[in-house]
């Protein structure tokens, strides 16, 4: 039902878009209609698929590595109040630096290949994953902790058997958020310097006033991002339901 309504909304928007293009006779290099974009998408399907594959690889690699890094950091910080007091302010401060500004440096250090884009993606998702997991790790129900202490549990075992499993929903909600941000990281990386990927293709098409191709690449990127978000969300929810039922 929700999907149906979303489709309906998208359909109305597309009709409106096509109507505007027809009515005002807008030249296609300024704003191509959705039909023209669809034609460009079909005509360049091999090219777009090739570049989309590169971007998807960057996004997924960034998501996996950033998620793993966030997991390790959050668990480490949860174990050590001293590390928390040192690292947490730095983490918050790091969010004040626009990641855009780092992209040229990453390209300088890591080159035009896929590496700089993956690092960019990791940088963007590291904070939401780490902070949402760490928050959850620090909010274990006090009754459970008391029970564990009466049972004679060590801190390490409490962390492993109690706090981490109890905090997994927090990690997963961080990961869901990361799935939305991850494509942004990859695209920023590609804009600053790349020879492949959807972001690169969009810049290229724009420079040659192939506006329809640019929109086609943008549409594929949007579908990719939404699909990733939905897939991660569904997988996380299904896994949690299975675990607790």
């Amino acid at each position: 039902m929700t999907a149906l309504r979303a489709l309906l909304g998208a359909g109305v928007l597309l009709c409106l878009w096509q109507g505007i293009v027809w009515f005002w006779q807008i030249p296609p290099f300024i704003l191509p209609g959705p039909l023209r974009v669809a034609e460009a998408l079909w005509a360049n399907r091999a090219l777009i698929a090739d570049h989309a594959g590169v971007t998807a690889t960057e996004v997924l690699a960034g998501l996996v590595l950033g998620g793993a890094l966030g997991w390790i950091s959050a668990v480490g910080l949860a174990r050590s109040p001293l590390a928390r007091s040192i690292v947490q302010p730095v983490m918050v401060l790091s969010q004040a630096v626009p990641v855009f500004a780092l992209a040229p440096i990453l390209t300088l250090w890591l080159g035009y290949g896929i590496g700089s884009k993956i690092v960019m993606t990791i940088l963007i998702i590291y904070f939401p994953v780490t902070s949402s997991f760490l928050d959850a790790l620090l909010r274990t129900p006090p009754g459970l902790l008391a029970q564990a202490r009466v049972m004679g549990a060590s801190e390490g075992r409490i962390l492993w058997h109690l706090r981490i499993p109890a905090a997994l929903p927090g990690f997963l909600s961080g990961l869901k958020l990361a799935a939305v941000y991850a494509p942004i990281g990859a695209i920023i990386g590609e804009w600053v310097g790349a020879s492949r990927g959807l972001g690169y293709l969009m810049l290229l098409a724009n420079g040659r006033t192939k506006t329809d191709l640019m929109f086609a690449a943008l549409a594929v990127l949007a579908v990719l991002a939404v699909a990733l978000h939905v897939a991660v969300g569904r997988a996380a929810d299904a896994w949690l339901r299975r675990r607790d039922a």
Binding site: Q147, R149, G152, S154, R157, H161
Partner: protein, 245 residues
């Protein structure tokens, strides 16, 4: 607990403060060895703090006085606790929840004993199910099973039955009385009827201090409709009303 071992009694004396604010003054509480002692009192009077002192988990509480076992040995490792909320882990099966203590201490688990205990509390059919599938009463039976699995001579009960409906509560009281017989039990409750049914000894904790009350002459657990139980319920209720803040 081997039947030959005599469980220690519990002794708490002195003054209890939370931060700088005095909570309880002139305490002199004794829970005799192998008996069921009820600590009755209004909400917020400090009953749970008393339990936490015996359990060794009273964070932020200072005691000027002594909390000890009557045999002079440390209480640590000889106490099991059961709280109002069942504190079951939703991601573990009932059997694994019952085995939680061993898992948290890094000891080899004894699934055969866990099975036998689940049989005793009448939940063997659900051994491989998760707590989410159970009613409140069944969940508290799992909690009781976990206490039995821990097999400690001292058992602290923090209003474990107060969230249950009347009939379920009465059945749980009978089951707990049967299965915990022979251990030193200290049960905190705000329900005079519960104290009148269960207590070999009954103490009433008020803002004016600790008052001893006479339990009915019949052995516990007493029938809820026995004249002695009803009379004691009435006496305890009046005592609570007289000392209400």
């Amino acid at each position: 607990m081997a039947p030959s071992d005599t469980p220690p009694g519990l002794v708490l004396s002195g003054e209890v403060r939370i931060g700088d604010a005095p909570l309880l003054r002139g305490l002199d509480l004794v829970a005799p060895s192998g008996m069921w002692t009820c600590l009755l009192g209004a909400s917020g009077v400090g009953k749970s703090t008393v339990l936490r002192l015996f359990a060794g988990i009273a964070d932020g509480v200072t005691l000027r006085g002594a909390v000890r076992a009557s045999d002079g040995l440390p209480l640590k490792g000889r106490v099991a606790m059961m709280a109002q909320a069942d504190m079951l882990l939703p991601w573990l099966t009932l059997r694994d929840n019952v085995l939680l203590g061993a898992r948290l201490r890094g000891e080899p688990p004894d699934p055969a004993r866990a099975t036998a205990i689940l049989e005793e509390v009448g939940l063997i059919a659900f051994a491989t199910r998760k707590p989410g599938a159970l009613s409140g009463g069944e969940r508290q039976r799992v909690s009781l099973a976990r206490v039995l699995m821990e097999d400690r001579p001292v058992v602290l009960l923090d209003e474990p039955f107060s969230a249950l409906d009347v009939a379920t509560r009465a059945r749980m009281q009978d089951l707990a009385a049967t299965l915990l017989r022979g251990r030193t039990v200290l049960q905190v409750t705000h329900d005079p009827a519960e104290a009148a049914r269960m207590g070999d000894k009954i103490h009433v904790l008020t803002t004016d201090g600790l008052l001893a009350a006479d339990p009915p002459s019949e052995p516990a657990p007493r029938a809820p409709d026995a004249p002695g139980t009803l009379a004691a319920t009435g006496r305890l209720t009046r005592l609570l009303m007289e000392h209400a803040a």
